[in-house]
């Protein structure tokens, strides 16, 4: 812990201290170690954080008690040269009286002025003393001066600075090998027993036979680690730590629940982002977006759109609708956005296995929530089986079970609609109108089908390798798309799908190009035209 070089102040009361100066020192590590040893139990990160804040406040309080061999300053009090004085109104700055002289004021008869030195390197300051007149600091007792001055209790300090304190402690404890952690719970590594290799095999077999993830309590029982038939906090922690360290096992439970599953039974997409979704959150200025574009930015459900650009959404709705975008249609996924996230079970530590319920048939099938990359996986077969195109209006519905989510679409009598179709032609995409059978409601502006997916994949890879800029793609696609409209205009949603057929791009990135490049001209209602003469 560091002290202020000039004034003795309650540093724990300052948010800046926790945000900028707080570090877990070796004596803090020793303090935490001793507490775990004394109590011989698992400590959560919050418990450790609060323990440390309480410890810091207690140490500081002790320093103040030591200082209180002097007075707490009140103007009405008498002070002698050499006396220590504390000034509550100045953040408990402590100083020493170095001189006292008679005071001089046209309205007050008799009082003193004392000279106080706070630090040898600073000039002394003067304060009134023996001043038995009306003054803000004269009301009440000296001790009462400490009341209502914002001396916060450790619990309040921790509550307000929780995120910063947690992050600092976590970083420091993770760097000390004497601690072992599972999620946000800590214990001492040396005190945790090992598990025989044979028990891991039993755990593996138990999950394999069950064919589903097993809760940690069941794992403890299967591995014979319960004590007199009871699953203790320690045996639970032991199993969690040991299985987490073994590459054969993965926790797939939602927040607050640990469910162990076998790595070999998980689809690769549970941990590796599908290639068609891989993109960067690019920062761009939205100042140039008019209200129409701002609205469209929130309408297109894309996890690459920064959360700040999306208006607050009521997360208590029972049902929501979203439009299937090209990258997710290709990947068999859904985006995790502020709109959709509240519908799925999540975990900040691991991918979560849950169940999709088909709204048409009632059948269930597995889904994976991958919060790390903001997508939900497991819909590839469902999209294909129901022949859903890009732009399909999908519906998500909550159930009473948070690990079951209903997914549905609006079926219509199969009709043959004229829709845009993309074809990979050499090094570019061409577009034409094509009649296709579609059995669901969809966003016509978003919809583009693919004539030759394999060739499109080859072209996509080429664009990726060449790192072709979004602007170049827009310029090559615009004439192709505009010829399909009598007005020679293209809607931004169509451009978004078209660009994403060849390159993962957020809507905001496309809007940024449209609004900043002179060759694009905004029309009304989200439509744009293109003038190739202004390209360069």
């Amino acid at each position: 812990m560091k002290g202020s070089p000039i004034l003795k102040q309650r540093r724990t009361q300052s948010p800046t201290y926790w945000q900028e100066l707080f570090q877990v020192s070796s004596s803090d590590i020793e303090f935490i170690t001793n507490r775990i040893l004394e109590e011989n139990r698992i400590f959560s990160l919050d418990e450790i954080g609060l323990l440390l804040v309480r410890h810091y406040c207690a140490v500081e309080e002790q320093e103040f008690i030591t200082l209180q061999d002097g007075h707490l300053y009140q103007p009405k009090e008498h002070f002698e040269v050499g006396e220590k004085v504390m000034f509550a109104q100045m953040g408990f700055a402590a100083g020493k009286v170095t001189a006292v002289r008679p005071g001089k004021h046209p309205h007050y008869d008799k009082f003193s002025v004392m000279q106080v030195t706070f630090n040898e390197s600073l000039p002394p300051r003067e304060f009134v003393a023996d001043f038995d007149y009306d003054h803000a600091l004269n009301s009440g007792s000296a001790l009462a001066l400490t009341d209502g001055l914002g001396v916060l209790p450790p619990e309040t300090i921790y509550e307000t600075q929780r995120e910063t304190i947690r992050a600092t402690i976590k970083k420091n404890l993770d760097a000390h090998k004497e601690f072992i952690r599972f999620q946000d719970n800590y214990f001492l590594r040396d005190l945790l027993p090992d598990i025989q290799e044979g028990l891991f095999n039993i755990a593996d077999a138990a999950i394999d036979i069950a064919g589903r993830p097993l809760p940690v309590d069941q794992m403890v029982e299967q591995m014979g680690l319960s004590e007199n038939g009871h699953v203790t906090e320690m045996s639970r922690f032991l199993v969690n730590c040991r299985l987490a360290a073994d590459s054969r096992f993965d926790d797939v439970g939602p927040k607050g629940q640990v469910l162990w599953y076998l790595d070999r039974l998980q689809p690769p997409e549970a941990t590796a982002q599908p290639i068609r979704l891989q993109g960067k959150i690019i920062s761009y200025k939205t100042d140039s977006f008019d209200s129409g574009l701002q609205g469209l930015l929130a309408q297109i459900d894309d996890e690459l759109t920064p959360i700040v650009e999306i208006a607050t959404i009521d997360t208590t709705f029972k049902t929501i609708s979203l439009t299937l975008t090209h990258p997710h249609w290709r990947s068999g996924t859904l985006p995790l956005t502020p709109k959709t996230q509240a519908f799925f079970p999540i975990s900040y530590y691991n991918p979560v296995l849950f169940e999709f319920i088909d709204g048409r048939t009632g059948n269930s099938f597995p889904g994976w929530v991958v919060l790390q990359y903001n997508y939900v996986f497991g819909l590839e077969k469902w999209y294909r089986r129901n022949v859903l195109p890009v732009g399909t209006y999908l519906h998500l519905k909550r159930t009473n079970n948070p690990t079951q989510v209903v997914i549905d679409y609006e079926a219509v009598r199969s009709q043959r609609d004229w829709v845009r179709q993309a074809t990979a032609d050499g090094s570019r995409l061409t577009f034409r109108m094509n009649q296709e059978a579609i059995g669901c409601k969809y966003d016509e502006l978003m919809m583009i089908s693919e004539a030759n997916p394999d060739k499109i994949d080859t072209l996509w890879q080429k664009i990726r390798d060449q790192k072709t800029p979004v602007f170049d793609l827009l310029c090559s696609m615009f004439p192709e798309l505009s010829k399909l409209s009598p007005q020679s205009t293209v809607h931004v949603k169509t451009l978004y799908t078209a660009v994403n057929i060849l390159r993962r791009t957020s809507p905001g990135e496309i809007f940024h190009e449209l609004t900043t490049q002179p060759c694009f001209l905004g029309m009304e209602h989200g439509y744009w035209s293109y003038n190739p003469k202004l390209k360069d």
Binding site: Y73, F87, Q89, G103, H105, P106, E126, F131, A136, L137
Partner: protein, 137 residues
């Protein structure tokens, strides 16, 4: 070097007497400019008094003119009027309330000039005018 924190509409300002001392500015001469024509004559041999901060109890030796202006001139209708320049009006407001810290919103209510935001831009910058600065800096 102390860190500069941009003041806000909630920041309280006051007259820092230490600024006058450190910058070797002539407070007496500036106070004379604030006095009215019929200010009482200063008592013999008294040039300074111990000004007591109403909140912290800190004492500054301040020119006795301060107290004479506060007792006499502030009651005059033209002490702060539409012709008083902004900085002068702010300085006079602090004389009138015996240098009790005020936000720019409170200052605006007292002097009725410009707006709290403009007052903040004027006295909240890096340049200190007549010792008017945020409390605690």
């Amino acid at each position: 070097m102390p860190k500069y924190t941009r003041p806000t509409l909630e920041t309280k300002f006051h007259l820092d007497f230490l600024w006058w001392q450190k910058n070797k500015q002539n407070l007496h001469s500036y106070l004379l400019d604030q006095s009215c024509a019929d200010i009482p004559v200063m008592p013999d041999g008294v040039s300074q008094f111990d000004w007591i901060n109403p909140e912290s109890g800190e004492v500054f030796q301040v020119d006795i003119l301060w107290e004479l202006i506060r007792e006499h001139c502030v009651k005059k209708p033209h002490f702060i009027d539409e012709y008083t320049p902004l900085i002068t009006a702010i300085f006079r407001a602090f004389i009138a309330n015996n240098n009790t810290p005020l936000t720019t919103v409170e200052l605006y209510r007292m002097i009725q000039k410009q707006s709290p935001e403009l007052i903040l831009r004027t006295i909240g910058g890096l340049i200190i005018h007549q010792g008017i600065r945020p409390v605690g800096n």
